[in-house]
Symmetry: C2
Subunit: 246 residues, 2 copies
């Protein structure tokens, strides 16, 4: 069994680069056994699996496996407690289908990777049909987003495009657009029953939704808060709304 | 105006120690303008306010202010983008009242500081009357918990004690105990209407609730997930349940 121990190795250097967004043009990196299992279950093509020498027994039967030293794995892994495996996957080609129908979550300029990942995971749990991200939202192939998504990007399509393109796609498919505001001027979510096909827009952590979204949405909704906290975390608000609307 | 520029200064050393749990026996540290405003609004006694020299104009009129250099502030602040102010506050003495009534959130051994802070903030937003933390949960005076709580610990009491003590306090006050499971063997939350006084128990991120909690709770509840994700983040699940039960 050959074990790569040099950081100068071509494959190691190529995989390491994928930690940076600018190199993620055709591939990305996942880390840990749970995500690898999700990738295998979803039958997505896997370019390379890199496993540290202590864990090589866990990948028997898999193709495209390269064994690396623990030091190399430490360097390739992003988390503080590396699990001993990373894999290079092809970036999926997420083109919009001709006809859109169902329930969608739309994230407008959500910045925090943990929030983006958690909301996609929650939309997956709630059985949503897809997620739209504005082009100014956090990159979903960031390791932190991937960790908090827990493989949900293998279960539902995630489209990334400008907000104007998202809205024209939704409108041309007659999908009702609900947008979440912090203002009690809008309708409380408990009084809203969405159409069978709808999209829920969550705004930026600090700014909320843009005036474009507020103007173009079919319905503005808020969550009435009887307590003293000024606001909810955006991912918590999304969880409350997604599960209320299904 | 005297500006402290030495890390050897007695007050600076004392405040810096509060970053470590073992020194938080009678005081703790908050960071940033929002938390300071919340502390002032809640009228909690403030031992010391340390402000960096550029921001000294923002604390005019306040007592117990010490001005420090930007370098010192950088060292005292925990966040990557320090806001220029930290304050030392007395740890509150959270003793249980003789009679407990209302709505409570109970966290059993929740480990992640962000999850603990976000759930306390959500319970505050939902108008809950208090939060119980098992003694093995993350310390709420950890800077990361304080950041995600956004001052909610000034709005509602947070009691920390062993799970057995929490349950005996709840039971002796006839408070209905609901506990969240991952198992679909329990009742879906949409079919549950809690009593006017109830407590909702959320379990550890990996293990869920303990067998003690499962055995002693009055009602086990779960969130039905129509999608493919295996589970929800514990703070998201808490958000869905807290807002559903009010």
């Amino acid at each position: 069994m050959e074990i790569i121990r040099s950081k100068a190795n071509h494959l190691v250097k190529q995989v390491k680069k994928l930690q940076q967004k600018k190199y993620r043009t055709s591939s990305y990196l996942i880390e840990g056994w749970h995500l690898l299992e999700e990738a295998l279950a979803a039958k997505v093509p896997i370019e390379h699996i890199l496993v540290s020498e202590e864990h090589v027994h866990r990948v028997s039967g898999l193709s495209n496996v390269t064994v690396v030293s623990s030091d190399i794995m430490q360097d390739l892994a992003d988390s503080r407690t590396p699990q001993g495996v990373v894999a290079q996957l092809f970036l999926p080609n997420q083109t919009l289908p001709d006809v859109l129908t169902g329930k969608f979550l739309v994230l407008e300029d959500v910045q925090d990777p943990g929030n983006v990942g958690t909301m996609i995971r929650t939309a997956d749990a709630a059985g949503f049909d897809g997620v739209f991200l504005s082009d100014k939202s956090a990159d979903i192939y960031n390791m932190k987003v991937l960790r908090s998504m827990q493989g949900s990007h293998f279960h539902l399509p995630v489209y990334r495009m400008p907000m104007t393109a998202i809205f024209s796609a939704l409108k041309s498919n007659q999908i009702q657009i609900l947008a979440t505001t912090l203002s009690s001027q809008s309708v409380d979510y408990k009084e809203v029953t969405p159409n069978p096909s709808f999209a829920l827009v969550m705004g930026n952590e600090g700014q909320g939704i843009s005036t474009f979204v507020a103007d173009e949405a079919d319905q503005l909704v808020h969550i009435t808060m009887p307590g003293q906290a000024e606001s909810l975390n955006v991912a918590i608000a999304a969880g409350i709304l997604l599960f209320s609307f299904i």
